[in-house]
């Protein structure tokens, strides 16, 4: 189910030959279009017997591809859940909407999903800025929210609260999963290329703290706005600093643009080029010569020794034209399954009851799909997902583009709730 645009037919009576009414019509049309970007439209009849999850992912903008895969993962999970009897004997329905990674738009859609569509739970987001906003909104509404893909540490750190859970790792875990490898492989003088918002800034802070603790030097950083397409001036700065390693913290299309230009300038031959989060979507979008560096993956499709992974990959590919599941697909998949599992175990759709069950809840291996057993920590609601650290495979072809060198279980790289500034209090 996607957004319904407003029906255009309703103004046809005004659309007569007179230029005045025609103009009125056009203006009304423009107003409607504007409203359409904000609204989901209302639906008169809601099936009362369904369990509904509102899915807030971007399907336009810099993070469109990442959002799409999170939605696909969620839809596959919903199909599996409905195939085995639904949630509490009721059919599970996903109501998917586009946030365009804009906080204001996402918050208003979250409110609409809850008040007009009667969704019981929320999941989604790619941008950390949106995650933080939805976290606040869901707390205000008393609705349970599972952040599938926004990484900024504060979501399960200083902003943590009873109603928000997170599947993907924190920015700190992304940094901690790969930092040692980077220091050993490239050296300890780093320059950062950082997207200028919650995700980039918190991830840079995490890398810096680890680097300094190990006696390394931060040479500087270039802060680029989200959605930057030309990185040439930032790369000139980076090159002037003569680092051992350029740490690139962009994601999505921004990372594609940055690495494409790094490659054009041949910078990967002058110093190390690496970073925190790499994704299959990004590697696929890069020309072969721009696929370089050591990175963290949060989930990898090729885990020959982990049970159930091959099954998951096969049924995902069957469902989506042979495309391989990415970490994003897995985020969406885990988020939906977690909500269903929480509701089933709580025998209720009440947000507080489900939240109490989910704090400390362990995921079955056919949902976790990692070498370690995964569970949501009770004291910050963070899933202890691991990091697949490794290197981009030179000369690889899709989907075999990455060599996993090391799997770091989440528990070994995560900060404690107290370190992150989270003081969880459950409502009575």
């Amino acid at each position: 189910m996607t957004d319904k645009k407003h029906p255009s037919g309703q103004n046809h009576q005004d659309d007569q030959s007179s230029p005045v009414s025609r103009r009125t019509f056009l203006k009304a049309g423009a107003a409607l279009t504007a409203a359409g970007t904000l609204g989901l439209g209302t639906r008169a009849a809601q099936a009362a017997d369904k369990v509904r999850i509102g899915v807030l992912n971007p399907s336009t903008g810099t993070y469109a591809e990442l959002g799409k895969n999170q939605t696909r993962g969620a839809q596959m999970a919903a199909a599996e859940i409905n195939g085995s009897g639904g949630v509490l004997g009721r059919e599970l329905e996903l109501i998917v909407t586009d946030t365009a990674s804009k906080t204001g738009l996402a918050v208003s859609k979250a409110h609409q999903l809850v008040s007009q569509h009667g969704v019981h739970f929320l999941q989604g987001t790619v941008s950390s800025a949106v995650s933080e906003a939805i976290e606040q909104a869901s707390k205000d509404m008393g609705t349970l929210f599972v952040d599938s893909g926004g990484h900024a540490t504060p979501v399960t750190g200083k902003y943590c609260n009873w109603s928000t859970f997170r599947v993907c790792t924190t920015t700190y875990m992304l940094a901690a999963g790969i930092a040692d490898t980077l220091m050993k492989k490239y050296g300890k003088r780093w320059y950062f290329l950082t997207p200028n918002y919650a995700f980039g800034l918190t991830e840079q802070a995490a890398f810096e703290s680890i680097l300094k603790a190990n006696g390394g030097t931060v040479l500087g950083s270039a802060l680029a706005p989200l959605g930057t397409t030309d990185f040439s001036s930032y790369l000139i700065q980076a090159q002037a600093a003569k680092p051992d390693c350029l740490i690139i913290l962009q994601a999505g299309d921004d990372l594609v643009h940055a690495l494409t230009q790094v490659n054009q300038f041949g910078l990967q031959h002058k110093f190390g080029v690496a970073g925190g989060m790499m994704e299959l979507e990004v590697l696929k979008a890069l020309p072969e010569s721009a696929r370089v560096g050591a990175w963290s993956f949060e989930w990898w499709w090729n885990q020959p020794n982990t049970p159930h992974v091959k099954n998951f990959v096969d049924s995902y590919r069957k469902r989506y034209n042979g495309e391989y599941p990415t970490a994003r697909s897995w985020f969406g998949y885990v988020a939906t399954h977690s909500i269903a599992q929480g509701a089933t175990e709580a025998k209720s759709l009440d947000a507080k009851k489900v939240a109490r069950v989910m704090g400390g809840m362990e995921l079955p291996p056919e949902v976790g799909l990692e070498p370690a057993t995964l569970k949501f920590r009770a004291d910050d609601h963070q899933l202890m997902a691991g990091i697949f650290a490794g290197e981009v495979k030179s000369g690889g072809s899709y989907p075999d583009l990455f060599n996993v060198l090391n799997y770091e279980p989440g528990a070994s790289i995560a900060q404690s709730a107290a370190q992150k500034g989270c003081h969880m209090s459950m409502p009575s």
Partner: protein, 288 residues
């Protein structure tokens, strides 16, 4: 000091590219009196067409054919949609072209996918010209050469060909040249197609430089609008000047205060509007 030099040169390379896009926009604005919001959509479409054509035609083949196909589409759009709106409040064409952008972006997302795609450029252009000036790659020199060639070519075309002179004349007084028997429908179609062709060239060049994404046009088109306003609406030379100016300004700013590198172009625009409301080389009477 070296850093400043680097950023000035880099800014010039950027500015030339903004100017290339701005000239197409400016051409359409001048004669057709259309604020073409869909310029970025055509730009992205040309890039994606080039991606599809590349295996058959090679890079340089695609660089010519994709913009030509886009220009043909541009003529169709002009014929069937935009033509109905000439002489009306600019709001109408603004709404139409704004809608077109959304349609084109979603069309690209449907046909080619939301995922970014790489446009493979010829290997010979991929390396930097020197170790010191690592940011001046063969490909960026190609962009520079093409942009300069098209700028000069367009100016010569407008100054020394019959059609060009008619476009120039039409831009300042369309009613009079219509009364003198010039087929202004044809003239508008030619001018629109030429503008879209320039957008197409810019799109293919941008695709090889940044990679393809469905919303690539959005990010690229805003500086071009600013270039036009700074240079003066209706003046092609002004657009060129405006493009270079904001390119260098944002390049230099990013050397000293990177956070402001996007802001600075709007500051320049505000400043120019405050001191010379018609832009640096703007003429009286256009859109007034």
């Amino acid at each position: 000091m070296e850093l400043l030099l680097f950023n000035v040169l880099n800014g010039l390379l950027l500015g030339v590219f903004y100017a290339l896009m701005a000239m197409g926009l400016s051409l359409i604005l001048g004669l057709n009196r259309i604020i073409n919001f869909a310029h970025g959509g055509f730009l992205a479409l040309a890039g994606y067409l080039a991606y599809t054509l590349l295996p058959y035609l090679g890079f340089f083949g695609a660089l010519i054919v994709a913009p030509l196909l886009t220009a043909v589409l541009g003529v169709l759009v002009e014929r069937f949609l935009i033509r109905r709106l000439y002489g009306r409040d600019p709001l109408f064409s603004l709404l139409l072209t704004f809608g077109l952008v959304l349609i084109m972006e979603d069309m690209i997302r449907t046909v080619w996918g939301a995922q970014g795609l790489p446009l493979q450029t010829p290997a010979i252009l991929q390396s930097a010209l020197s170790q010191t000036y690592f940011f001046i790659t063969g490909y960026r020199v190609l962009i520079l050469a093409i942009a300069v060639a098209f700028s000069i070519g367009l100016l010569l075309f407008l100054r020394y060909t019959k059609v060009g002179l008619r476009i120039l004349a039409g831009a300042s007084d369309l009613d009079t040249i219509a009364a003198l028997g010039v087929n202004i429908y044809q003239l508008r179609a030619i001018s629109f197609a030429a503008g879209i062709f320039l957008a197409g060239i810019a799109g293919v060049l941008a695709a090889g430089w940044q990679g393809l994404t469905p919303q690539m046009g959005d990010a690229l088109i805003m500086p071009s609008f600013v270039a036009i306003i700074v240079g003066g609406v209706g003046s092609l030379l002004g657009s060129l000047l405006g493009g270079l100016l904001i390119g260098v300004a944002s390049g230099v700013t990013s050397a000293f205060y990177p956070q402001a590198s996007q802001l600075v172009i709007y500051l320049i625009m505000a400043l120019v509007l405050a001191i010379r409301p018609r832009g640096l080389l703007g003429k009286k009477g256009v859109f007034e």
